[in-house]
Subunit: 312 residues, 2 copies
């Protein structure tokens, strides 16, 4: 069918693709440093040290996003000192108080130039309300997926990293239908949901609640002063003081669809993995070493979290 409008649109899109192809530098995969809160900022600084290393060491250009917090200046002060101590000269506070800020040319340019982008704790709902879907958000995706930048987030900044975000919910002693609500996160990872302060605040029940009602999502619980480092397309590593707990309900059998809100579902055959600090897994090369040494459930998790997602 001859449709001039469609032809025009096609031509425009081809131009856009050509434009993009011409302008974009060769793709380089970045890292996510997903921290369960309470990372050491004064003594060993193991996790922040790794974040800085991945972002380029002394040459790193680090921006800190404090938008999750209501005490942004105090937050900046803490990380300003920590990154300074770690030898990073080039460090900047992105003080975002509005969506206008999150779309401002100045901040977007600073993200475009950053090799490390760090999101502090606070409230992930506040963070997403301010930066979700903004030009800054898009620039972070480009940084991770095109420029090989490192994105770190702690506590609220960790929860915000997945597409489906654990927004809020009580941590009862047993899972409870309807007690946890999700929101839209930044989407650096998909098909997962991230909880933090995990063992310390006894949040397994809360994570099981999410997974029971949303078995599409694999639950990731990260302990305090502990990080899950994801090398996109490559592998994962756990470092710090605690462990990462993974809860997989995809083969689970449950009555959650049939029970009332605020009651405990029956859950049968939830898969649980515990990866303490020191655990490290590399994605096997598909052709030369298919499934090499990796238990299938972990391989599956690994393929999921290291997946190179398109820029959304």
């Amino acid at each position: 069918m001859n449709d001039p409008m469609n032809e025009t649109m096609s031509a425009a899109m081809s131009n856009a693709v050509r434009e993009e192809t011409r302008d974009k530098p060769p793709c380089k995969d970045g890292h996510l440093v997903i921290i369960g809160g309470g990372e050491d900022r004064k003594h060993d600084m193991e996790i922040l040290t790794r974040f800085v290393e991945l972002a380029g060491g002394a040459d790193a250009n680090i921006v800190v996003i404090t938008a999750a917090s209501q005490i942004a200046d105090e937050m900046w002060d803490v990380y300003d000192k920590a990154f300074g101590t770690l030898g990073v000269e080039n460090r900047r506070h992105l003080m975002i108080n509005s969506r206008q800020d999150a779309n401002s040319e100045q901040f977007v340019r600073q993200v475009d130039e950053a090799t490390g982008i760090f999101m502090t704790g606070g409230d992930q709902k506040r963070l997403l309300a301010l930066i979700g879907g903004s030009a800054l958000d898009a620039a972070m995706h480009v940084a991770l997926k095109r420029r090989g930048a490192t994105i770190g987030g702690t506590s609220a900044g960790a929860s915000a990293m997945s597409g489906h975000m654990l927004a809020q919910g009580r941590a009862e002693i047993l899972p409870e239908k309807g007690s946890v609500s999700l929101g839209a996160g930044l989407g650096f990872l998909h098909r997962v949901v991230i909880d933090q302060h995990f063992s310390e605040r006894q949040r397994l029940s809360r994570l099981l609640t999410v997974v029971a009602q949303n078995p599409y999502l694999q639950g990731i619980g990260i302990d305090e002063d502990t990080a899950l480092v994801v090398a996109m397309g490559e592998g994962i590593e756990v470092l710090g003081a605690g462990a990462v707990t993974i809860v997989d309900g995809r083969t689970m059998i449950t009555n959650v669809a049939d029970i009332k809100d605020h009651t405990t579902p029956e859950l049968i055959d939830v898969r649980l993995h515990l990866l303490p600090a020191g655990s490290s897994y590399r994605l096997p090369k598909r052709e030369t070493e298919p499934g090499k040494g990796l238990p299938p459930p972990l391989l599956d998790f690994l393929e999921n979290v290291t997946k190179r997602n398109p820029i959304s």
Copy 2:
């Protein structure tokens, strides 16, 4: 080969079998009421009511074993009142202070006549040190497996029921190799280990520690005011206020054998089941309804805990 000694032994064993066959009444399967501690003893008394029903209602003959406790008289007082309120006339305190008591003809006869045997809380190591391997212990096995009696146990009395008993161990926030020790329990159930006050005292890590080091055992965690009722050869039911958590590490992959004591093992593919109060499963008849409606991992658990074990 002609070996007179073996022939003599064979003859003796045949005699023993004939003796046993002649003397024993037709077998009747009993029940276990395994309670996670803190069961209601004054208001709804849901769990104690079920215990009494299973033991014969108003006609029940109940003996209470307080040997786990250092305050045996106070313990007896509580259950004396509760069972009295529930209409049981025939109730007795077995005050066991020594292994001589546990081998005394009087107490053994009282167990032989009981339709319900209840073990209170306290310390399961104390309980086993006093009654493990005694004539009383043997009489309890006969009661459960030949006479269809009901055996109840709460807290320490619950832990004591399995062959491998969780003796003691810290409940850290993460599993920790070498932090939990096992002992020999009463052996009404095998291939399991039982923990109590489970969700309330956040004992999942402790149970994972046991299962990580002893994957032969399926871990059972029972919440307070919650009971796992096992009808031997028949099925299971959960009642009360909380849930029963089952942790199965048989297909788990772990580095526990290679790490040092007091460090956290990596655990991959632990199976977790959560059965809230109201869950109830009957063992399918092997010929007419193989595996009927039961997810395989649960069927396996069910076959294990309802197994008619020989008198040991």
